[in-house]
Every structure is written in structure tokens, then in C-alpha cells.
Point group: C2
Chain length 344, copies 2
DNA sequence: ATGAAAGCGCTAACAC
DNA sequence: GTGTTAGCGCTTTCAT
């Protein structure tokens, strides 16, 4: 007599039980759960009551099995083995992401993919339908993963402009690096600085390139301004070295825009070592408005990015594709903001 | 005649197709896939070949449906709404975690749970069998979530010692905060410092408490040493304020152990403002060996934690419980290391 | 609008 | 050792 009625091994109520409780068929119960409009108000109420009473929650696996959707999206942190992740970024972006996702039935899967093997695993995940879409936050420029995923037919969204404008265009969200750099440089100019240097990021990262063009754009056509460019790699040590080099080239320089906070911090060290006062002798501006900027001496003026918002937009970009696979999505470029502290 | 044979809508081969290809039954094929030993070498080979040939990969949903396992573990970042995430930590721990997980069939789900509503959602996830276990990295002390999850019967593992030794004991991994603090303080003592202060963390966090006892332990029984304690909250501003307070109490102090890097950076600022040279007049040591420590001026001597290893151990702790639900697991305490730079 | 029924792909119990 | 089979819980035609 125990027949279909009560629970089996697992204690969770099934749709069948809901249907019995509500005196309808399983089909109807399913329709209610999935928000189909083709249900009589009466049945609707009965089922809803039953659901509440039983504390019913759909079984994800069972649903997935028939719909062939996983209701799971993947966040891939594609970092090269050695490079340390730029921190504040990560947590903040994930926070935005989660926020956006919490309005949906989507689950967030996370994988770190440094090695080629792990890259393959990601592609597997997609091909096997374990995930419905992929978000990628990639630290180095020439990552082939996004393209591969797109080729595999998966919805993909990126943080950060892909370095090479590729044939298969994949939607991305990025901060307006150029505008941010321009604002910083213009700020220096408006303060009366006329010998303005910049320390750039690596040449193979879009962020580095864009910040350099922002610097150039700000100074374009300005007369009586000395421009100086030194190459860095976003790391602190490279910033310190670049600053020494700059000082060697032009001991009179009165301002530096560094394309990252660690490089700015490095510059601060080099300037101090060279006996320059900041900001009196030389003004310094960084980029990212990281934790670091709030802890240097002097405190760092820096360009801040809306990281949390970037996370939200990233999720939006993916969700849009999930809803409409054929949609051609434009990049989302978010505004930056210059945060003034002590160094400029 | 298309009957069972070839593919349906989805292009993925099924176990059935593998079985046909290998001339065995689906049952046998399943045994091979799941590594059952009760299979003839001949069948084994046939099935393996078929799997390779067809590129077969098990359907997660289908398997889940019958095994009632999700093969998914959850990482909950349980942060209070306002508190900013202590950074270097997060990415590094996740990296260790992923590494460990990549040797298993387990997927990593990530949720941020700041609000109560999100906490509930996590409990739902567990109750509905969407996840087989939960790892928790909790930023504030009095988080009830771990206990609730344990009560719900879920395998749970924590980063960070729970502040109150609770009845329901849940396994955790932590750095040896006390030993780390002790090492730092002893180092200061051995350098000949005799007026050694400490800036503590919040009283409701185990890490703060443990580091304070480490400081005390290092100085216990030492004669001719002046001890000074000021309260902080791990934040930079609190460190700066505490340092000023300390300087007021004892202008002659010659060393400070701060329980976090940001507080140490704050102390650096206060010391500079007070005209003290570091490390000549006052030696400073921080805790965490964060990015920050590598970017202050002078560079910060700091106690480093094996964050990546902590991530691995966290995963191990959970996996052990998954394998043996009744196992009583001891806490895993990992050694710290004093990284000497310029400030002490 | 609703019920009946056919699977989704897989595991595990059972029979041989 | 291997094949057969009964579901896991759900969505979705197809009738009605």
C-alpha cells in the first residue's frame, strides 16, 4: 500500500506528491512550477498550496536530464601558472556576479584554469552540457580559450577587452581604461605639471595599451609639455625600475601616471630614494584604486574601476545570450573615476 | 528502424551507444565506467575502446538522479555586508581548493552569502541535495551558518578556527596564528628590542585572539621587557590610531607587532608622522604577508600563511567527510613563516 | 485546461 | 561475469 504515496529513501517531496496533494496530475503540477499560463486559477492555487505545504523544491538533476540545460554557468579564472592574481578585483567581481545571478535560477561554478589540461577540462564541461555558458576573466592577453569556447558553440562573456580584435567577436565588459588614463593625465596637466611621464603596462594586455593611449590623448596637441614613456609590467618592481629610468632621462620631471597601483607604489619608492618629495616635487597617480592605494605613503591618487558593477554586467551579458543565443552583444564599457588622495 | 541506435537531438553519445559499440550490455558498460572490478578483461577493453572511439562522457544529471549525489561542493564566502574582503587570501585559497578538487569528479560551486536571505539559500542548496558538502570561509566571528549546516546533516569544513569552541564541532583548517605571532615577537626581542608593543585584531575573531596570545607567550617570563597592547580591527585606520595611542603611552617604544598588514601599514604612517625612523627607532612587523607588505615603505616584515595549502587542506577535509561521513576530523593547523624585509 | 504516458541517461538489484 | 530491468523525478507531446 505504500505504493507511490510517501517519501522514498530521500526525504524530499516529489512533484508527484505535490500533484496528489493538490488533486491534479503531475503534468499540471509541472506546468504550475514552470509558470505556464495554461492553468486554471483553481488548479494554480491548489498546486501552490501543496507546494508550500510539502516544502517542495524541484529536483535539479531530473529537470536537467529532460531539458538538457544545466542551469549552471561557469566562471573561469584563466591565469598563467606564475602570475599572481590581482586581488581586489577578483572578490569584487565575483560579488557583483553573484548578486546578479541570485535573481536567476543559475548556479555559479568556478574553475581556475592555468594549465593546458585545465583548459581542456573547461572545454569538456561545455561540450558535455555541464554548463550552459562561460564567463572568463583572463589575466594574460593571448588566451585562446574564449575563441575555442565560442567555436564550441557556448555562450561566452569576458572581463577585459580581448587584445586582438578577432574574427569571432565575443562580448566583453571592461572599464574605460583610456578615459581613465586620460582623466588622470589631464588632472596632472591642470595642476600645472608640464613634464609628465607615464609608466606603461605590458604590451600584450589591452588594459596596458588603452591606458597608454589615454595618456597620449590627454597630452595631444598640448604645447610646452614634455612626454616620457617607460615600460613596466604592472608589477611593483618594474615600476620602481621604470621610475629610476625616467628620472635618469629627465631629472626635472614633475609628474608620473603609472598604469597600475603597484607600479605607482614602486615609483613612490624610487622617488623617495632619489630624494624627491611627493607630491611637491613630483605628482604620482596610479590605476585600479586598489587596497594598496589606501596604504601607501603618501596615499595614492588613483583611477578606480567599478569592479562590482563589472561583475554584474558580465553576468548580464551571459544571461542575455542564454536567453537569445543569436543576439549580437556590444561590449560594455564602464566609466572610471579619479580618486584624489595625497600623491597628486 | 532508427530505434535506439544513433543520437537524438543532443549529439552526445550515451552509455547505450557505447554498449552497442562494444557488444556488451549497458550494465557492463556502466560497470566499466564506474570502475567496478567485476568485469572481464575482454569486456573491459572493448568498452574502453568504444568510449574512446565515441568520445563518451557520462551524463551528470542522469547519474545524479539515480545516485542522489550531486558531485558538487559549495564554497560559501560568508562576509558581512560591509566588511571588505581580506584579499590575498581569497584567490589563493581558491587556487589551492581547485587544485585539490581537480583530482576528483567534484565540481566547485561558489556563493557569496552576506545577507540572511543568502544564508537561507545556502541551507536550501544543501537540503535539496544540490551540493554534497560545504566549505565555508567566514570573515566574522559569530557566524551561525556552519552550525546550521552541520545540524542539517551536511559535511562541512571551515577556513579559520571558529571563535567559540562549540558543542557541534566542525573541522577546520587554520594557520598557526599563535606560533606566527610568537615568532614575530621573539624576533623583535632577539634584535634587542625591549619595549615591544602589539596592535591587536578584533576581539571576536579567533585570528585576532590567537595572535595576541602568541605575542604574550613570546614575552612570558622575560625580564626587563615593557609590554604594550592597543586594540585595532585589522583595518589600516585602526592601526594608525593605535600606533598614536601607543606612542602617547610610551614614546620610547622600540618595536611593534601588528596583527595584520594593513594595521602595520597604518602604524608605519603614524610613526613617520611622529618622526620615528623604521626600523632604526622602531621595528614593525605585520601579519599575512599580503601584497601590501611588498609595497609599503619601508617594505614590511610580515608573518606569512600558506594560503594555497590551506585551500588544499580545506578540500581534503571535506572530501574525507564525503568518503566517510562519520569520521571525526581533527583541525588542521598549518605553520606560518616570518618573512623578513626592511621594517624589522 | 488537464490527464496519460513516453522517455531523458543512468545505476543498481537481481537473475542467470 | 553479464544481461535485464526497474526506476530516479521531471518535462512535454498527445489526446481529450
Amino acid at each position: 500500500m505504500a505504493g507511490k504515496g510517501r517519501s522514498r529513501a530521500s526525504g524530499r517531496p516529489t512533484l508527484e506528491q505535490v500533484a496528489v496533494e493538490a488533486n491534479v496530475s503531475r503534468g499540471t503540477a509541472s506546468r504550475v512550477v514552470n509558470g505556464s499560463l495554461e492553468v486554471s486559477p483553481y488548479a494554480l492555487k491548489a498546486v501552490r498550496d501543496a507546494i508550500r505545504k510539502l516544502g517542495y523544491v524541484p529536483n535539479h538533476a531530473a529537470r536537467s536530464l529532460v531539458t538538457r540545460r544545466s542551469d549552471t554557468v561557469l566562471l573561469v579564472v584563466s591565469e598563467s601558472e606564475d602570475r599572481v592574481f590581482s586581488e581586489p578585483f577578483f572578490a569584487s567581481i565575483v560579488r557583483g556576479l553573484s548578486q546578479e545571478l541570485s535573481n536567476t535560477p543559475l548556479q555559479l561554478n568556478l574553475v581556475m584554469a592555468s594549465t593546458g589540461r585545465q583548459h581542456d577540462r573547461v572545454e569538456q564541461l561545455v561540450r558535455n552540457g555541464h554548463v550552459d555558458g562561460v564567463m572568463l576573466i583572463s589575466l594574460h592577453g593571448d588566451d585562446p580559450l574564449p575563441q575555442n569556447l565560442v567555436a564550441a558553440g557556448a555562450p561566452v562573456a569576458l572581463i577585459g577587452r580581448p587584445p586582438v580584435p578577432d574574427a569571432t567577436t565575443v562580448p566583453y565588459v571592461d572599464a574605460d581604461n583610456e578615459a581613465g588614463a586620460r582623466a588622470a593625465t589631464e588632472y596632472l596637466y591642470r595642476q600645472g605639471r608640464r613634464r609628465i611621464a607615464t609608466i606603461t603596462g605590458p604590451r600584450d594586455m589591452a588594459a596596458g595599451l588603452d591606458r597608454l593611449s589615454g595618456y597620449r590623448a590627454a597630452l595631444r596637441g598640448k604645447r610646452g609639455v614634455t612626454r616620457l614613456v617607460a615600460q613596466g609590467d604592472f608589477g611593483q618592481a618594474s615600476g620602481e625600475a621604470a621610475m629610476r629610468e625616467l628620472l635618469g632621462k629627465d631629472p626635472e620631471l614633475d609628474a608620473v601616471f603609472a598604469a597600475s597601483d603597484p607600479m605607482a607604489a614602486g615609483a613612490l619608492r624610487a622617488l623617495r630614494a632619489a630624494g624627491r618629495r611627493v607630491p611637491d616635487d613630483v605628482a604620482v597617480i596610479g590605476f585600479d584604486d586598489s587596497d594598496l592605494a589606501r596604504n601607501t605613503n603618501p596615499l595614492l591618487t588613483s583611477v578606480s574601476q567599478p569592479t562590482q558593477l563589472m561583475g554584474r554586467k558580465l553576468a548580464e551579458l551571459l544571461i542575455a545570450q542564454l536567453r537569445e543565443p543569436e543576439a549580437k552583444l556590444a561590449p560594455v564599457i564602464l566609466p572610471t573615476e579619479l580618486v584624489c588622495r595625497e600623491s597628486a
